[in-house]
């Protein structure tokens, strides 16, 4: 079952593994025909499309929960929502065939939104953002599996805009995954702060959509890809 869910504001500090454990415990509270792994420490089978970094709100997350036998999609959504805490919410569920590729393999990027709190720092970031988009390079320190590296983060951002909002600015961008991984909103914001020569800015980051690569090579919403 492919599940589209929201990881709310109150849960943004909960890490990937903690979220996985929380959802597994929620699943155990349901009557759903879930599957377990074998071995000494059997656990509930499930996988996320893409881990969400700590501090980011997930508006449109996807996970795959394999079922032991077929189960009605709407009933699944309803049953899982029954046991989830208020800040975790299932939007939709969809049955896919057993040989459906893993979500992780389909992920190609994401659309993120950063709400920057009004103030001098926000103004400065708004001022340098077009400069960042126009340039071909912004090198900053980035942590990857192989350690900390100086990376040019500009190529990760394939689209970007910033606009004035009710209380500050809204920065939107499309982040494309590359061979050496993805770009965290916090790393982008730190780099922008460096560029704007400010120490820090107050903001909340949202991952609005997870993207997949469509048959024509264009990025499209992962959910749409699953549904097609």
């Amino acid at each position: 079952m492919i599940v589209v869910f929201e990881k709310g504001f109150a849960l943004r500090h909960i890490g990937h593994l903690d979220l996985m454990r929380t959802i597994q415990r929620a699943l155990r509270r349901t009557s759903l025909p879930i599957r377990y792994s074998n071995g000494f420490n059997p656990h509930i089978q499930m996988s996320f499309a893409a881990p969400l970094s700590v501090g980011v709100v997930g508006m449109h997350e996807l996970m795959d929960v394999p079922m032991a036998n077929e189960f009605n999609e709407e009933a699944f959504t309803k049953e899982l929502n029954r046991v989830l805490p208020g800040c975790l919410h299932v939007c939709r569920s969809r049955t896919v065939p057993d040989d459906f590729p893993t979500l992780m393999a389909l992920v190609a990027g994401s659309r993120i939104r950063i709400e920057i709190e009004a103030g001098e720092a926000a103004d400065k970031i708004a001022a340098v953002f077009p400069e960042f988009m126009a340039s071909g390079e912004l090198v900053t320190l980035r942590k990857t599996k192989s350690g900390e590296n100086m990376t040019n983060i500009r190529p990760f951002v394939t689209e970007g805009s910033i606009e004035k909002a009710a209380n500050g600015y809204t920065l939107r961008c499309v982040i494309a995954n590359r061979q050496d991984g993805s770009l965290k909103p916090a790393v982008l914001m730190n780099a922008l702060c460096e560029l704007a020569e400010i120490e820090s800015a107050s903001y909340i980051a949202y991952r609005d959509v997870i993207l997949a690569k469509g048959k024509d090579g264009q990025l499209m919403e992962l959910e749409e890809y699953v549904y097609v």
Binding site: A10, L11, H13, I14, G15, D18, L19, R21, T22, Q24, R25, A26, L27, R28, R29, Y36, F40, N41, P42, H43, I44, G55, V83, L84, P85, G86, C87, S202
Partner: protein
């Protein structure tokens, strides 16, 4: 305020400690309850959320239609300094209400080294730290838990202590304070009414006097209406006693992240150093049916993947095998594993081991406590070397490769031979592993040998004993390290003797230690239970500043006829019995497990309580 808290969360190392909103914590709106109770755990979230007592009382208070109970934990140092910088007061996890806005603030006392955290939490929550400075509009600060059995070192900070099992007395206290609130009674009257509840001790209503040598001369109530003796509270029937059917499920990993099912309370063994063994008498079991019912409800409401059958000595539960079998069968479909902590080596464990290993294999812990039979007799640990070696053999044959051996050093009458005995047992454990044929044993033997330092505790037969001085403890630790370094495959863990020294001071201390505690907190002591936060020199300065000698408390043997600071509490077990046990221990005479016959510990005075002595 909530926005300011959210800002702080962006700055700290583990924000999930402070966010709340876990599963099963959506209780009721703070403002709608007539009476609010802040359940304070004087340690970090991970420790607090691992504590069963908090979950029991949390559910009891929240079940009262007029009351709301919210949780408050001790913030870690990064959060503490951020809160102080931003002027954010200590708040509850549920509604993020400032501590001082609650009607009742209740602390659980699990460990002496968490006492400074109580002062810090009160201060950070906007409540006068000393009870004498509190006014009518301040919360009533109560406390309970095992360390409340000697409440005196905290007498200047806590308004009222609850002694004994908390399930019933907490409701009486909350009921009474709700009635007082409605009548708008002044603080002094509320406290006096509280003192009339059985099991409640209000320190401001008692007055101690001392002899010239510093020992206690008298300890009397200042008011004729206040009882001279405070009687410990007992829950009689564990099946009708409240137990939560739903518990909070944290997002972030805590120390004991599982369902803790209390299968019984109390222990019949009578180990002479063990305070819990004396405090929680008599043994009271929950019935198998009730336990199955509770575990079904708890698995259903939490989704936890593990149930731990907890008690002081789970191996002694009368139908343990049947319980394990039934739970395994019930939950095999949901892959819920069953674990058994605090197994005693002399329990019938083989069957239970076979049961638990069906699902999961973890390391096994054995606590022989002392290295020789003589010293095990002194402490009345009815375990022989043969028992231990047989159980180790069972474990290694059963597929375990990792065992932990717990010992205590500095026990009364200990000699060099007893230290050698510890190394000898560790060596025998290694031998027992290699005695299992190569194909049958699981590779990678791990023997961990831990030696803690004996701390004299109130209401034990060793309450009169002195702790070894720190120099002696250090010399013994050095010697044990030397002895154990000769045994291959054994890891040796030991405790910081200065922490044990302070534990002893506060365990057996009196009212005069309240000043020391306050001074230590002023000097910056907090989170003393965490090695990296513990500052021995600050503590010594606090003792010096107050003119109190810690050696008087920790390293002085107390006279058998001395009035002890906790003698005004009737804990169930009588002082006469404790003294008898102490005298037997000096002759290395053992006392039978009380399931083999009543030993007359004093519990029999309470009709209908002990199933064994009736």
């Amino acid at each position: 305020m909530i926005e300011r808290i959210e800002k702080l969360l962006e700055r700290v190392e583990k924000p999930a400690r402070y966010t709340g909103s876990e599963m099963n914590t959506e209780v009721k709106p703070f403002g709608e309850a007539e009476l609010s109770f802040a359940f304070c755990f004087p340690d970090t979230y991970e420790v607090a959320m691992s504590h069963l007592g908090m979950k029991i009382l949390y559910s009891i208070i929240n079940a009262l239609p007029y009351a709301v109970c919210e949780r408050v934990c001790m913030p870690w140092v990064d959060m503490l300094s951020a809160m102080k910088e931003e002027g954010v007061p200590l708040f509850s996890l549920e509604s993020r209400t400032t501590l001082s806005k609650f009607d009742i603030v209740g602390f659980t006392l699990q460990y002496e080294m968490s006492y400074t955290n109580i002062l810090e939490m009160l201060f950070l929550g906007g409540i006068p730290v000393k009870n004498a400075q509190r006014g009518d509009s301040d919360p009533i600060v109560v406390a309970g838990g095992p360390c409340a059995s000697n409440p005196e070192p905290l007498s200047a900070f806590i308004d009222a202590f609850m002694i004994g099992d908390g399930e019933e007395v907490i409701v009486e206290v909350v009921d009474l304070l709700n009635a007082c609130k409605k009548k708008n009674l002044p603080r002094a009257e509320r406290l006096k009414l509280l003192a009339s509840i059985e099991g409640v001790y209000v320190p401001s209503l008692y007055h101690p006097e001392y002899h010239e040598d510093g020992t206690l001369k008298s300890f009397e109530p200042i008011d004729p209406d206040v009882p001279k003796t405070v009687k410990k509270r007992f829950v009689i029937d564990m099946d009708t006693a409240a137990f939560p059917e739903t518990i909070p499920v944290p997002y972030t990993q805590i120390v004991h992240d599982r369902i803790m099912l209390e299968i019984m309370r109390g222990c019949t063994r009578g180990c002479r150093f063990c305070q819990a063994g004396m405090l929680y008498r008599p043994v009271r079991e929950r019935s198998l049916d009730r336990l199955v019912e509770l575990s079904e409800k708890l698995v259903g409401s939490t989704g936890y993947e593990e149930i731990s059958l907890s008690s002081l000595s789970s191996g002694d539960y009368s139908c343990l095998s049947a319980l394990c079998e039934e739970l395994m069968e019930k939950f095999s479909e949901k892959r819920v594993s069953i674990s058994l902590p605090s197994l005693r080596i002399d329990s019938v464990v083989k069957d239970s081991l076979a049961q638990t290993q069906k699902v999961k294999k973890s390391s096994l812990t054995f606590a022989p406590e002392a290295g020789t039979q003589r010293l095990r007799n002194v402490i009345n640990k009815g375990v022989t070397e043969e028992d231990l070696l047989n159980k180790l053999k069972d474990a290694f044959e059963g597929g375990w490769n990792s065992v932990k051996l717990y010992f205590m050093m500095g026990l009364p009458t200990e000699t060099q031979a007893d230290l050698v005995g510890i190394a000898h047992l560790a060596q025998e454990a290694v031998k027992a592993y290699y005695a299992v044929p190569k194909g049958q044993r699981v590779k990678g033997l791990r023997v961990t040998c831990s030696a803690s330092v004996f701390v004299p505790k109130p209401f034990t037969p060793f309450q009169w004993c002195a702790q070894d001085t720190m120099d002696v403890v250090k010399a013994k630790q050095y010697e044990l390290r030397r002895l154990l370094s000769a045994v291959r495959g054994v890891t040796f863990n030991w405790h910081d003797p200065s922490v044990s020294f302070l534990e002893a001071c506060f365990a057996v201390g009196d009212r005069r230690l309240a000043d020391v505690l306050y001074r230590a907190w002023e000097l910056g002591c907090k989170l003393d239970g965490w090695n990296d936060q513990f500052h021995y020199s600050l503590w010594m300065q606090a003792f010096a500043d107050c003119g109190v000698d810690p050696v008087f408390f920790a390293n002085r043997p107390r006279g058998l006829d001395e009035l002890l600071p906790w003698d005004f509490i009737d804990i169930g077990v009588t002082k006469r019995y404790l003294r008898l046990e102490y005298e037997r221990s000096l002759d290395a005479q053992t006392t039978r497990d009380c399931r083999q016959g009543c030993n007359g510990c004093g519990i029999e005075r309470i009709k209908g309580l002990c199933k064994i002595c009736e």
